[in-house]
Subunit: 396 residues, 4 copies
């Protein structure tokens, strides 16, 4: 019996997305921060499969094939050897196989995703960029993914090119930009970005990555205003960071000084995520998942918050009584006293870091696609180039 498709699921209820692969697998030892490419699908399929299983167990209705940044130009950017060792095609195919295997252990769908390209950032034009996308989408179609996702785009122009390529496949298309409420990096408003994604043919539109849950939902509210005004009704989708980022400028968490190796103290609790899931649902978002920083327990938090709306609980809830109720079994009486919702809902967690501030000053170089300094290249960055960058940085 065929599984119910993504658009029907969204029509009938709420879809729980999965979490972030690159950050989780970097911590588990299988992905390299810097290039952030997914050759682990070939090198360590067991590790990738296990993370898929944990998200499935946590209630995810979809398994996104782990193909983040697996475009050929990214796999050979700045000294990355993944393209020459494996090829993008092989990495993407392995990702589809693993995702499908785990999806079939439950009732989940699989999807393939494409993202912004170094080619666009370097200013090489529409044809070159779409050629990159087309190669990736072909692998997804050949491997029979259930739908496609264009995610992590900073410029609506490149996003439109991506949606257009995906539409050639005839599959449902979802699209999420990595922007906040202040618009894309060429100053197109968030509302307009939403409208343009829908007009380009996306069935599902929204925001992923770059900002914390409250900021992403603020952006989605902007998009919804634009869509409502234009009389458009695509499904809404949100996949924020699981890091708190109130101090970000419009370029998002990459500009925070803590990115990517000292973000720990910004990690969201499960309670932060339950609050996010509720708020997203109330806005009307029906595809609710997470991006970088989302671990299996964060996805479980979405499933638990929306248990009634979904009419089912997830497997991982067997090991998690709601709102800390499991603490009733704790040895110490003062910990048992924390087995209740109002305790966790109202707690303001300390950081244990009295020498640290609560917010940071993000880098703000103010450059984007088209700027010379953003031209990408194949060679690894040299010491001289690094020193030049540090000098630039201190001048800002």
């Amino acid at each position: 019996m065929p599984k119910k498709g993504i658009l029907e699921r969204l029509r009938d209820g709420v879809v729980v997305g999965d979490g972030g692969f690159v950050f989780a697998l970097e911590k588990r030892g299988y992905v390299k921060a810097g290039p952030w490419t997914p050759e682990a699908t070939v090198e360590n399929p067991d590790g990738v499969r296990q993370l898929h299983r944990e998200f499935l167990n946590a209630g995810a209705d979809v398994m996104q094939a782990f193909t983040f940044y697996a475009s050929d130009d990214k796999l050979e950017n700045r000294g990355n050897k993944a393209q020459s060792q494996y090829t993008g095609e092989k990495i993407n195919k392995a990702a589809c196989d693993i995702a499908r295997q785990v999806a079939n252990e439950g009732d989940a769908l699989i999807l393939g995703g494409i993202s912004q390209t170094p080619t666009y950032l370097s200013g090489d034009g529409k044809a070159a960029v779409q050629e990159i996308f087309r190669k990736q989408v072909k692998v997804f179609v050949d491997n029979k993914v259930d739908f496609l996702l264009c995610e992590y785009f900073e410029h609506i122009e490149e996003m439109e090119w991506a949606i257009s390529v995906c539409k050639e496949s005839g599959l449902p298309v979802a699209s999420t930009m990595c922007i906040g409420p202040e618009g894309d990096l060429h100053n197109i408003s968030t509302a307009e970005c939403g409208v343009r994604m829908a007009k380009a043919g996306a069935d599902i539109v929204g925001i992923n990555c770059h900002f914390d849950p409250p900021t992403v939902l603020e952006g989605i509210r902007e998009m919804k205003k634009g869509l409502d005004a234009a009389g458009l009704k695509p499904f809404l989708m949100s996949q924020p960071l699981a890091f708190m980022t109130p101090d970000c400028n419009k370029q998002g968490f990459i500009d925070l000084p803590e990115f990517p190796f000292a973000l720990e103290s910004r990690i969201c609790t499960r309670w932060d995520i339950q609050k996010y899931a509720r708020e997203a649902y109330e806005i009307g978002v029906r595809y609710i998942g997470g991006c970088c920083g989302f671990e299996p327990y964060h996805i479980r938090a979405i499933s638990e918050e929306l248990e009634k709306e979904r009419g089912k609980s997830c497997n991982a809830s067997e090991k998690h009584d709601k709102w800390g109720e499991g603490l009733r079994l704790h040895t110490k009486p003062w910990v048992r006293a924390r087995a209740r919702k109002d305790y966790w809902e109202n707690l303001k967690p300390g950081s244990g870091r009295p020498l640290c501030p609560s917010m940071s000053e993000p880098d703000a170089w103010g450059v984007t696609a088209g700027d010379d300094i953003l031209k990408q290249k194949k060679d690894v960055t040299t010491d001289t180039e690094i020193n030049q960058l540090i000098t630039n940085r201190n001048r800002k």
Copy 2:
């Protein structure tokens, strides 16, 4: 060819321990916070095996069988059904099998551990407590673990009883208390605790859990003073939390209001852990690992900091250029500018939580073994009991 034993390894160099299973597997969906018992070895052996592999990959020289709190009395405490469903023996045996399998994929040893018991906390005396330990140790010996560990004891008296049982096996014995520099919960000084563990026959002594790396090392320094004064020379071992806890009282992180579901903002960065590894080594600690909160990337940080001393690198370092050097491959120039040691070493990370304090006021009920309120029981805690506890708590 037989593997080199733990004591020889310590004599010849430094041993990297593994990380924390209960917290990591709770987040992955396989362990329940509250009871914290390890029935996952039977229920989800794949999930447990994967975590072992990640620690091995990160450089761990030992695989601790996942038997935390797997004493029969704990497995049936306050409504826990693990004992009736599986029995402690079965859980412990499965743990040994998994640990051995992964250990043999590399050159690692395996160990079995026993911990403080509800029986002691309830005041049931030496014979009853040692009976509990003996059952666990028998499984470890039958399954041929390489050495034994008595860990997570708050009272030196119970620790001595545990070491004594372990010594019956003829295996090397390690022992770590979950105390800080202020001594055990019956006010025996940390220095004296160190001396008494050594005199009880432990080959390796130290501290695990309950406090952050700086506090644990402060405690180890106290132990070393006592041991030096007594002319004793056991190996030293440290396995702290990967959470920052400067605000703890002597009972440790369990009393922090954030325990266990809102500790996120206290999580140590990899750089915090490199600092810990260096400092531990300089004090003379030769068994350097981690406890709750230690994920694979934290163990990798120990391996990388001590790479020269160990004369080898770990597999996971293939995906981690030292001190952020991998960022040379990043797309954005201001992130490439962070590819250097002094950047990460000096960064004071923001929490992104301006409405939260930096420190918390821990619960401080001031009760310990022997107090009536600490008597354990089989039934799950009732609503009435919880309300009574909340009332007590607010009164403090």
Copy 3:
């Protein structure tokens, strides 16, 4: 020889305002927080005079008669006895006398100010409100102040009524609203407020009180945009709080939970104020002073930052070498090492309060002029009313 007038001074250079009387004199014991009325001019003229002298000494070019909130309706609001004991007329006259005496010890001008009224807040209409203003202005004119100031208005409508009354005097009129960049409490934009003040006849327009220096200057930038677009060229004036208030909503610091008795940790340093003075000057503000929280050393900081632009130094600088240079005379060598600008400019001061957050959640009742709950009355608030208010507050 007559002193140079305020408009000529502004035309030829920069005018340094004075600081905040109610907060400073509350701490010195002469003003009561709650009513905040200035009967000290009658009760403790020496205390008022001394504060004027300190501001003069710190470089203030103007002495604002201490008549804040000295309208008859405020002096008898909610149990205040100042009106029945002294009358507004007597208080205002005494204020003028003291200000004039000290002004003549230097080259300073004096001004009289009027502020928002309970009558307006209670919705009693234009005629009633202007009647209140007219009584105050008469005292100022009779006592020969050099110019008039309409300050601390939250609604541009009431401000226009005030300016109109002041214009009847023929004296130069300055006008500052206590709003930020988000507009007045009836949602008139800040830019429009600026334009309407100028069109109503104010020679000098700007913002005072309610927000920290950065927020006030952001508001002034908005006003300037509006004025430029309308082709209007009044002088600009800023008198912000000397408290940091990034967490305020549009109603300002009164809604912060710390108002008014726990604002200490928000107090600006002298270096914060030098930064403010420089930024204000660069925007084009020519009347640069302070409001609540500004102590004499804050005014000195303005004078010192603009010493070159003013072509003179202030008396109090004899006791203050620039940028900490006086520390060269300190006993301890590590304190002498702080005798330099870059040290103080870059310091991020700790609060010494690790159990406190960095930001607060302001009260946000969302009511303003016209709402029933804002009706003022003569009787002191009863216990029942207070309990009702607490209940309301907790509900928000």
Copy 4:
């Protein structure tokens, strides 16, 4: 009718001290940070007199003549011209005159104080140091102060020399060291310092300056233990900072990076001070005042907290209804809702500084009396010396 003496007052009840002159008058423009010497008694007697009056009004039972650091060697240290312009004798005499005048406007006593000397720090020996003290004490005796105070000593040895000189006068002698619970700078324990002050003949012993109220009271508890063990019963006295300093090392707030120009966010609220007054009283302290940072409203907070114990209220309480009750007269209802004790007692004030940490790393050069770098001299510090100091500092 002669006033009741200090010892009788202490025997019969509690004595409220006054606040800090150097910090308050620095902000008012009359004292220079760096040398911190009191030539304002000659230059601006009105300013000094006004501050005395405010403390009297706030309930202070004693007026300490403003003679801080007015030893001849300090008045000519490192370029200070006060000695050559005025002489110590003239400054001290003027201070006594002003204090006496204001004391007689109420029922207050006056006292003269002496402090640590550059001569001691430079290692010049007992005779030289006592010669300095004797000159100061002579002025106090000639001007008929009611009692003497040896305050702000970091070394018990110098303190004993000072007490010994004071005892020659026949007047009651109080003595307070500027140390915390960790002992003096030559590592004499705080308990022993207490005992040695009492044995040297001080009638009143305690601690002033350098630390926040909680730390000073912790030190007093140590002193009391020592005194109790030795069977000694002097009166106890505390005059802490009105700055929060949990991050200080044993040298106190001078080592904090914020000293002295960026301490604002550490200033205690009136509620912090009420808590301090209560706690001091309960420990048995009977001379309760403040040092640097204590403004008149802080002294009023002591008087109000101990109103029952003193059997009287202070004049300044006419302008301050207890625990925020004056807010009943406020215009805005949500501010009236704050007119109650439990609101202010439980408030955790935000700093409004999200880019700042809560604690700082103090300088820790680890040098004290006898170290070459602490030799004092008459010449002002040169640029070369400052640069050398900065280099030293960065090396630490």
